[in-house]
């Protein structure tokens, strides 16, 4: 018996294991952004394994600007009353008071998200203080391990939310999995230097070097708009996918939601991904990442 069991993460306490346990249950599924109970119902009927409640989908946040905050508790409660699958909701980076409100509301998972306007430019929420599990975004392994050290029970790639462009999600997933592969090839006496360079805790760096994988589930988010996008990130190592604007900003949300769910499970079978793709109308209009000004990028929020 080893002290850890892959992503089961029994190396910390029971509270941690229960948090990672729920993340384990969401594997192989699709988590969909919804802004009201009606959308939540559509997502559940399409086979979503969880929904993410937020005020506006990322592409609208991008378009409309202003400060993006935690969704109104009334809307979140309506969503919780409507569906039987887990309900997640987003808080601003570092906004532990919003997180406490969501915990009091008894949401199942909190996303400390760069999609909302950060509340703290230095500190993320100390997630060990909460009983409800957290998911956080990451662009590279160092960022993922810092969030896990703070108590995140699930990591997702940041990608570039609201862009409808999968390129950043691909970049971040390849970066994280590539860095993990590299760690497994290093000598033990080289890991302190890596930990210093990455700005990540040594114990987690050593664990990745040994196991080759994160101690929590690793999902993908930020730009997934089609069944083939979902299949792509699954092939690259994503254990589940988050779809934000991609569904309810398309011309056919119900069919697209179903198709992405199907492609996520059967990503290894191109014929099924084809079938899922064939029934669809127009995907959301995407953005070329190079046309987005540096100041408008969401992925650079948080560290």
């Amino acid at each position: 018996m080893t002290a850890t069991q892959g992503s089961n993460g029994s190396y910390l306490n029971d509270a941690w294991r229960v948090k990672v346990g729920l993340a384990e249950m969401l594997k192989g599924g699709v988590i969909m952004d919804v802004t009201n109970a009606e959308q939540a119902r559509i997502a559940e009927d399409a086979g979503a394994c969880a929904v993410m409640a937020l005020e506006r989908v990322p592409s609208d946040i991008r378009k409309e600007g202003g400060v993006a905050r935690m969704a109104a508790p009334k809307i979140i409660r309506e969503i919780m009353d409507t569906v039987s699958i887990p309900v997640m909701a987003k808080v601003r980076i570092g906004h532990f008071a919003e997180a406490a409100v969501l915990e009091a509301l008894e949401v199942d998972f909190i996303d400390e998200s760069e999609v909302l306007t950060p509340a703290d430019e230095e500190n993320h929420v100390w997630k060990h203080d909460f009983k409800v599990p957290f998911v956080c975004g990451a662009r590279n392994l160092g960022e993922a391990l810092r969030r896990i050290a703070e108590g995140a029970a699930m990591i997702r790639t940041k990608g570039e939310a609201g862009s409808g462009n999968v390129v950043e999600a691909v970049r971040h997933m390849r970066t994280i999995t590539g860095e993990m592969r590299r760690l497994t090839t290093l000598r033990g006496d080289e890991l302190m230097h890596v930990a210093k360079e990455m700005g990540a805790p040594l114990d987690l760096v050593r664990e990745i070097a040994r196991t080759g994988k994160l101690p929590v589930p690793n999902f993908s988010a930020g730009g997934i708009a089609t069944p083939a996008d979902a299949a792509l990130v699954r092939h690259l190592g994503a254990e589940s996918v988050f779809v934000g604007s991609g569904i309810f900003k398309s011309s056919d949300p119900e069919a697209r939601a179903k198709a992405i769910v199907k492609a996520t499970t059967h990503y290894q079978d191109a014929k099924v991904v084809l079938e899922a793709s064939e029934v669809l109308g127009e995907a959301m209009k995407g953005l070329d990442i190079r046309q987005i000004e540096e100041k408008d990028l969401l992925q650079t929020r948080g560290w």
Partner: protein
């Protein structure tokens, strides 16, 4: 050495890899089942944790609901954990949903509450003298059991591990612990070593 049963794990959504890891620790091979074709040659099936609503949609869409009922009718052994228990139940409430109906039980989904009610407990089972860890995640409660259902463990006054013939049901997640007691018991059911309500372990 005798032939080990070929174990299939339903892999449409959920923690199927955790079950695979548990079987690997026991030196037992598995196949992931996503379509009826994948069931060929499988002697024992595991229905993992996850979201039962999502899993059920896949079962119906792929025709796996019918295949699994046929599999059980042929005498195949089935083990369901949490969402898997919900899929196996005859009746499901909170909310009502369709299921395979292979075990004569009624379950209530998310009966302890939302994620904040999830917890790790320790509990005795009739499988071994030592208590085992029981990880409950948004767990269901078994509200009613038919006469052929045998209780193998209770926790907080509720049955949490039950068996009906070659069907084994846990409302918790033995696959999320390092303890392999429950999986070993299931493998013995699958190998035909526990024909009836055996409570004594036939150690190999």
């Amino acid at each position: 050495m005798e032939k080990l049963p070929k174990v299939g794990i339903l892999a449409v959504q959920g923690d199927f890899e955790a079950h695979a890891a548990t079987l690997a620790r026991l030196g037992v091979e598995h196949v992931f089942v996503r379509t009826p074709r994948d069931l060929e040659g499988v002697d024992a099936m595991i229905l993992p944790g996850g979201e039962s609503t999502t899993q059920w949609k896949f079962l119906v869409e792929e025709g796996l609901d019918r295949s699994l009922r046929e599999f059980a009718a042929r005498g195949g052994a089935i083990f369901g954990t949490c969402a898997g228990a919900i899929l196996l139940a005859r009746e499901v409430h909170h909310p009502d949903q369709a299921s395979l109906g292979l075990a004569d039980i009624t379950v209530i989904r998310n009966a302890y509450g939302r994620q904040l009610a999830s917890e790790v407990r320790s509990g005795l089972t009739s499988l071994s003298p030592e208590p085992i860890e029981m990880v409950f995640i948004r767990a269901p409660i078994i509200d009613r059991m038919g006469p052929n259902v045998e209780v193998l463990a209770t926790s907080q006054g509720q049955p949490v591990l039950v068996r009906q013939g070659r069907t084994l049901i846990a409302t918790f997640h033995p696959e999320l612990t390092s303890d392999t007691t429950v999986h070993e018991y299931f493998l013995r059911i699958a190998s035909g070593k526990l024909d009836s309500a055996d409570k004594v372990l036939a150690r190999d």
